[in-house]
Symmetry: C2
Subunit: 338 residues, 2 copies
């Protein structure tokens, strides 16, 4: 008979997204309807291209945050559906533009839209979705939500440019990397959560709490993604391993390995990621170096740290199903890595 060994730390391997998904199910049904309705256009290429990405099975975590945050704040109206849809459109637009910027061939395991319809259409349909997102925000009449989400749009683009400038630079520091993902990923998680409190008309303290929850969850989420990209767990989930490596992306596991490594190891990282000169065995060796320097486990430790901050941010809210589900979502996010 097996013995249950208590695992160090507070992660809960049985943590699940299911409670959150169950609570927001009805609202997300409306969000999905709005997504389809608002991606429509009499110019057929637009719903065709947008639908390709929208139907490719994204997890819709960001709009789920908006919906759940609004409900956590006791919101009983319907405007959160428009905000959540706006958030998903901002995210979709970013993905379309990212694929052009990264010259990606794949997105969510399917051919990237740009490979089917070309870079041009991807840029323009992204612009269209962004326009639709702002139109929906305006329909809510919430200037404060507009302020938060338009600011996020500028910050996200700024983060992408920053990453472009620092792309493939193995000398990137941990702080600089956190700045990039703070802008690229966490800014939209933060805004998506914060506008839930805004539309519910809650005081600034609760807005700030949800902003902090979203921001730190976003960082944890991205760091776990970074770790999974090099781990066998990812392979078990049917996802490909080493995408970041092949694309020469500098992520935290690389930053830690590079900084902790000897000169010859640094040369390896420079050759493979800066110069893009890779042989088939290089990924295995990269994983070996990461193992040697605890780069994956420490990346997950960092993620846990931000997850803890996200959890604490919700402390001011009274107990209830939404709070529990949002806390469990953090645990799930970190537990994915184990």
């Amino acid at each position: 008979m097996g013995v249950v060994i208590p695992f160090e730390g507070n992660e809960d391997r049985s943590a699940s997204l299911e409670p959150l998904i169950g609570l927001v199910e009805a609202d997300m049904g409306k969000v999905n309807e709005a997504i389809l309705a608002r991606a429509h256009s009499h110019v057929e290429l637009i719903p065709e291209l947008a639908g390709h990405l929208i139907n490719s099975g994204g997890k819709r975590i960001r709009p789920m945050l908006t919906v759940a945050a609004a409900r956590l704040c006791g919101y009983r109206g319907e405007l959160h559906v428009k905000l959540a849809t706006s958030v998903e459109f901002m995210h979709t637009a970013t993905l379309l533009h990212d694929d052009v910027v990264d010259e990606s061939d794949l997105r969510r395991g399917k051919a990237a839209a740009r490979k089917i319809w070309g870079n041009q259409a991807s840029v323009l349909v992204g612009d269209y979705l962004l326009g639709q997102a702002f139109k929906m925000m305006v329909e809510t009449g919430s200037l404060e939500s507009l302020r938060i989400l338009s600011n996020a749009a500028a910050v996200i683009a700024e983060g992408e440019v920053l990453q472009l400038a620092a792309a493939h630079d193995t000398k990137t520091t941990e702080d600089a990397y956190l700045q990039v993902i703070g802008a690229k990923t966490a800014a939209l998680f933060a805004a998506a959560s914060e506008v839930g409190a805004v539309i519910a008309g809650r005081p600034r303290e609760e807005q700030a709490a949800l902003e902090s929850y979203g921001r730190n969850l976003g960082i944890a989420f991205q760091l776990v993604d970074d770790a999974l990209d090099y781990s066998g767990k990812q392979a078990l989930m049917g996802k490909s391993v080493g995408d970041d490596f092949r694309e020469g992306k500098i992520t935290l596991p690389v930053v830690l390995s590079y900084r902790r490594g000897a000169a010859e190891e640094r040369n390896f990282w420079k050759r493979t990621l800066e110069d893009g000169d890779q042989t088939p065995d290089d990924l295995i060796y990269a994983q070996k170096l990461m193992d040697r320097h605890d780069a994956i486990s420490d990346t997950v430790e960092r993620a846990r740290h931000y997850g803890d901050i996200a959890r604490d941010a919700l402390a001011i809210f009274p107990d209830g199903p939404y709070k529990h589900a949002l806390l469990e979502a953090v645990d799930f996010c970190v537990a994915r890595a184990y």
Copy 2:
């Protein structure tokens, strides 16, 4: 001694933009300051790239429309400066994305930003400027202006996708072409003018009048641009002739020539514009065909028609320097073609 020969029609060859430019000079000084301040970012590549385009001598007609429309409506505040700056940023973002979409090498006679900094940076800096534009709109607190401009953003992108789908199609009808420029060019002219009335708190009738003024001026402006691209007048102005032809763009002079031409002429347009198979003499021959079918002069006639509608739209406003300057701007726009 020369004899002044009265020219048929109502165009005024001495019409000038100078009265308008003079009236808005102080306001446009503030707009220019705001443009520089808001294109700023701690990510250096952003102001560098944005500045390249912003300082390349665009005429800033669109923000001028916003400023002049607000003043025509008696506005005495400062928020029109933010709206005008937003309008110019929307335009700049569109240009950056357009260059990527069209794979252009030149913009306003200078190397296109994408040729210097790459497609990636052009896409992302465009996104950044769009985010900044929406932030500024939010700062005005005018939800109605946000509604109008976010709608324009979606319509512009939709028009670009439409054009992408119809690009190089010589069978494009005049109606279809007008639909494209109605979205690509006129939508922003219309929105830029309309928000001037909105920020001044004027009734719907004046908003609608300025919307109509801007829309029709935008169409006239684009049609005259189309005509000039094939005319010797353009060469006299130091601009290159035949850019649209070389890029295979379908513009109204082509639409008219194709529809009025014989079968062998249509084959010429198909070869040169649809198939992109051009010889050095083809531009001269294209101009000859346009001449044969009055395609340039009739394009200018069409422009005059829309210019007349723009003029009539302003009839409800009392006389005054702004009204006169805006009317003269229409005349100038059409007179450029002679």
